[in-house]
Amino acid sequence: MKLAFVVQRYGLDIAGGAEYHCRLVAEHMARHAEVEVLTTCAADYLTWANHYPEGLEVLNGIPVRRFKVKRPRDPGAFADWTDRVFRASHDPADELRWLEEQGPFSPRLVRHVARHRDDHDLFIFFSYRYYPTYHGLAAVRDKALLVPTCEEDGIYRLSIFPPLFRVPRAIVYNSVEERALIETVSDNQDVPGDVVGVGSALPEALDAEGFRRRSGLTGTYALYVGRIDENKGCRQLFEFFRRYRAETGSRLQLALIGKAVIEIPPDAGIVHLGFLSDEEKWNALAACDLLVMPSRLESLSMVTLEAWWAQRPVLVNGKCEVLRGQTRRANAGLYYTSYEEFREALALLESDAVLRSHLGKNGRKYFDSHYTWDIVESKYLSLIARASQIARAPDAGPARSKGDAASVS
């Protein structure tokens, strides 16, 4: 079987959620099928400027074919079009223009997908919201499998997207909440799908003590891993955490791992450790007392799953349906929707080591029963088999039977 993974960016140095997710899945599916990745030359998700050379290269044994981005994103034009499609009356043509302005605008990639549709048995598209997925999926609709990585940001409500969710032969969801969201907006219940998520590159061993020595973190500490950005809820986290320490007299520290996009307030309780290697990130997870995930927009938080594998409880933003739902199902952490809840939940987690231990163990059980690679791979294989059957008999496909495939250009 030949599988083509289509994604907006791809590289060993790209830490973005959907892109990293795609790389992990592609590398694992290479054990079961002949895999090729089709992507752009972009590395930066803000500009989509060409960075990697065009053509074929091999990364971790996976052939990666890159195509140039025709023009980088013009931030002014993109802001104008965003304003227009989200705040003013507009038509679907405006939304398609917004899609182009958002980037990565790579018609070459889409043309390649269309021309080489017979070279692959299935095309697996990552992230519904980008140009390559929207137009590429339409070009090979009877051979397409979609991993939407949809968040509650309202983009999925634009009129061009609900028909897109009815087109693929199967959909790989990241969470129960994401599936409900997409099914509600697109009425695509007859498109085969499953909640799969993604596994992790698990470490051989953990060195919690060594990490504490190296980082100088001696007492209890909460950990945040990811881009330190307002969109990830970090500004609110800093505000809540500083207020928590001031009000309660707690000596809990907040350690941050990741690139800082916003200013980190100078505070004795907040320690920025910078960008760490994967190995050191795992050690930090093993050494921490809890993980904090303040993001309101997540389709799947890999670091939350990794914390659970390391048997650490989490404190998540309860306004994110996905995080709250997973935390409740896993019984492996607490959540907050206001400062008061943040303060009480954090105080409880900080003071009660037994509770932390039980929540951490529950997290590990949840991870082992849903997110090991054996489980993830078998779910992908099962969906691929179903999608292939439908692909061989395209007229029986759900999108055509509903008669709305034509609405996706």
Binding site: A93, D94, R328, E340, L348, V354, L355, H358, L359, K361
Partner: protein
Amino acid sequence: MTFEIKSDDVDVDAIMRMIRKRIEEKKQGLYTDEEIREIAEHRLDAVLDAHEFNSDFISDFRSQPGRWNYHFGPETIYRSSRGGVGGILEGIRRVLRPLQKLFWNPNPMIAALSRQSDLNTYYVHLLHNLAVEITRLNLEVQDLKNRNLQLQGRLEFQARREKTLEEMVVYREDSGVKAGGGGKPGAGGGGAAGNEPA
């Protein structure tokens, strides 16, 4: 706050319920800013509903200003929404722009409409913020009224207590005269008693 953890029997929902209960207890009738905002919006909704407005007006206004207001920039009058053809049309308009400026000057109109659009947004936010502030003041007044009633109750209770205590003192003074023969405690009453004839 302590929770009893029975082996693996941790229930996140139960813990969250206890956390919320504890927050309620701590607040004791005080509202957070967020709650005041919510209440304010509810009250605004009620007013707007009566006039057949969208019950979610303020959030709707924020998320869809195009429905309630208009966006007007220097390029608005030259734009087209006809896709590819529109692009050509916009190009032609751009070329002819200097020519049409010979007949009239659109700049004052663009400036006025653009300013009006901004003003509309400011007015809506101003009215909304006023509604929030009025609600906050209403709640404060309500709270002060309650406290006033409580204080009045306490004052009445203290007045009654004071009166009762005064009456008791008078009563004890009266009974002391009868029992002690007028001698003040510790003032050598024993000696006086010793002077009593046997």
